[in-house]
């Protein structure tokens, strides 16, 4: 059985179509990543699947429960963590977790183990008696995660869960998510960060309410249009500015301390041309053809649609 299934799901707000004809199935025990720019409709999709809003058209099911008709049963299957999770600011860390454990009827014995595990993963043991109000932004986010994970739902819906969370905690967070897979939990996570999307089994790229790509990260990468060339050199910022004036580029950008250029044409000829250009410029550099990252694919897919209005 599909854990999540949607057919022709559409949501209009006035004249604005936030989600357009979304058809998707997510398997049980899968980590699915919904990726897309701000305003693409990610949060609306989550809210539709959580049964919080009724779609304008189309249907969705979670474990066979229709999101509108069976909304009562739906909440037994899912745990939803919105971007602004309802923490009680005048309760402590421990009290917030206990509150959610009560809400989800988590048995005593399991509760103790789970709380210990979640506090440890989030490095929050020293802060368990601190009021939620007095936590930093990233810590509030970690506490919200701990509350959402205190029970073990069949489907976990996480809306940009790691915004503002530091790298160490993000690592631990993903470790916890993968651990849930042992219990066949299905995870549906939205993110604006593509290194996180790489960790998902399958991903969907949502743009202006439409799903424009869907598949495993490797499958999605085959949709890259153009040849990607990576250049390592000193002063990459200056060199990139110069290359922009000399070459016809599909896109270009800095990628860490490296330059990524996308050009269209036959790969080896393109590489030769780039190398020659660098030589003419008198630049000591290494250039090679590389496989695209999800960020490269994302940008190559969206920039042509957006035209100039996404760039500065």
């Amino acid at each position: 059985m599909d854990a999540i299934k949607a057919i022709g799901l559409t949501q209009k707000f006035g004249d604005n179509t936030a989600v357009k004809n979304l058809t998707i199935n997510i398997k049980e025990g899968e980590v699915f990543g919904l990726v897309g720019p701000d305003g693409a409709g990610k949060t609306t999709v989550m809210r539709l699947l959580a049964g919080l809003i009724a779609p304008t058209a189309g249907d969705a099911w979670v474990y066979g429960c229709h999101t509108v008709e069976d909304s009562g049963q739906l909440s037994n299957h899912i745990s939803y963590m919105p971007q602004r999770f309802g923490l009680y600011m005048d309760l402590t860390v421990q009290e917030n977790i206990d509150f959610y454990a009560d809400l989800y009827n988590v048995p005593r014995q399991i509760r103790k183990e789970k709380t210990a595990e979640l506090l440890a993963f989030s490095n929050m043991i020293p802060f368990r008696d601190r009021l939620a109000r007095n936590l930093s932004g990233g810590m509030k986010q970690k506490l919200a995660l701990a509350c959402a994970l205190i029970h073990t739902p069949k489907v976990l819906l996480l809306d940009e869960p790691t915004n503002g969370v530091d790298p160490l905690s993000r690592r631990d967070f993903w470790r916890i998510l993968y651990k849930l897979l042992e219990e066949k939990v299905t995870i549906f996570v939205s993110t604006a960060y593509l290194d996180e999307a790489e960790r998902c089994g399958r991903i969907g790229l949502l743009h202006r309410g439409e799903l424009i790509l869907f598949g495993t990260p490797d499958e999605v990468k085959t949709h890259m249009s153009g040849v990607l060339i990576e250049i390592r050199c000193a002063e990459p910022r200056q060199i990139l500015a110069d290359l922009r004036t000399k070459l016809t580029l599909v896109s270009a950008g800095l990628f860490g301390a490296k330059i990524h250029l996308v050009l269209s044409g036959e790969p080896n000829q393109i590489l030769e041309m780039v190398k020659n250009t660098l030589k003419e410029m008198g630049v000591q550099a290494e250039a090679e053809i590389v496989g695209p990252s999800l960020e490269d694919v994302f940008i190559s897919m969206i920039r042509p649609i957006e035209g100039s209005d996404a760039s500065v």
Partner: protein, 319 residues
């Protein structure tokens, strides 16, 4: 007082401390930031990043130590500092129920931009942020990336020589982030000093120099490349495989592995010595019949470095 106005350093910090009651938020931190440099300030949640930034912006007064920003002393010249810096907070601090133009006008008022310059500066911000067609749009309806550029523009209205950005790209999508960093590079090229905090290590790579703070102490400083060499006391292996989680379980408990983490579609493994560890790892994978496509020593990512520094600190502190 440390230095005068025309020093090569925009920010100087020496033995800076901040205590809140018995809590030592910042403990004897020292560093310097050159003019026109993009200086990245890293650290886990609660490490003291924002506290340090607020001291440098003249918002809170340090407990001890010395610091200057653009030549002004943080203890005695907080007001002058505020006039010579731009500050962009995590929340972008825009008025959502005002239009783009109204927000700019509001900040022009706060920064007391002279009448004759107001229009020019407003046009500059609108152009820089790419908001020409949205001058009269309500800020609330703008996508995050656009709001972010507007907030940056507002923080630059008074042409400050130094700008502080506190997690400026939290929750902003990749395309907007790229545009944002292109703006940052332009500013740096014009000689503006950029002091930025971030949790995203791909962004840290964009900085000229980085400092890392942990439990209130400065634990590393240098260029991204220096950090990868100087502060790594172990090798990092990249393992690409079909079942990363299975592999994680398979390598759990191998004593040679100091840290194993999911990374993209595989694992990064921190080991004492790459050549002696590789055969041991291969054996563990084979025992579980796990297929791997690549296992090799790599240049560590900044995330590897970040984690390694923190863990070696924790273990030397006996945590």
């Amino acid at each position: 007082m440390l230095v005068s106005n025309n020093s090569e350093y925009a920010v100087t910090v020496k033995d800076l401390e901040k205590r809140f009651g018995s809590f030592q938020a910042v403990n004897k931190v020292s560093f310097q930031v050159r003019r026109g440099e993009i200086f990245g300030f890293l650290g886990p949640n609660g490490a003291g990043k924002s506290t340090t930034m607020r001291m440098l912006c003249g918002i809170i007064i340090p407990t001890a130590g010395e610091a200057t920003v653009n030549g002004f002393d943080v203890f005695h010249q907080a007001e002058q500092i505020k006039n010579h810096i731009g500050y962009m907070s995590q929340k972008f601090s825009l008025y959502e129920d005002l239009t783009v133009e109204e927000n700019i006008d509001f900040y022009s008022g706060i920064y007391q931009i002279p009448m004759v310059e107001k229009k020019n500066r407003k046009d500059w911000v609108v152009k820089m942020a790419g908001l020409d067609e949205h001058r009269n749009s309500l800020t609330a309806i703008l996508p995050g990336g656009w709001r972010q550029r507007l907030a940056l523009g507002c923080a630059l209205l008074h042409k400050p020589p130094v700008i502080f950005l506190d997690e400026p790209t939290s929750g902003v999508d990749p395309i907007s982030r790229r545009s944002f960093w292109e703006l940052i590079y332009q500013l740096a090229a014009e000689g503006i000093t950029v002091f930025v905090t971030t949790h995203y290590m791909d962004e840290a790579e964009y900085c000229d120099r980085l400092a890392m703070i942990y439990r209130g102490e400065l634990v590393a400083i240098g260029t991204p490349d220096e950090l990868k060499v100087k502060y790594m006391n172990n090798d990092v292996l990249n393992l690409e495989c079909l079942d990363p989680f299975g592999a994680l379980q398979a390598v759990n408990g191998i004593p040679e592995i100091r840290e194993a983490a999911l990374f993209g579609r595989g694992l990064h493994l921190a080991v004492n010595d790459a050549s002696s560890s590789i055969p041991i790892i291969i054996k563990a994978l084979q025992e579980r019949k796990l297929v791997y496509t690549r296992l090799e020593k790599i240049i560590p990512s900044l995330e590897d470095v970040f984690v390694s520094i923190i863990e070696s600190r924790d273990s030397s502190a006996g945590l």
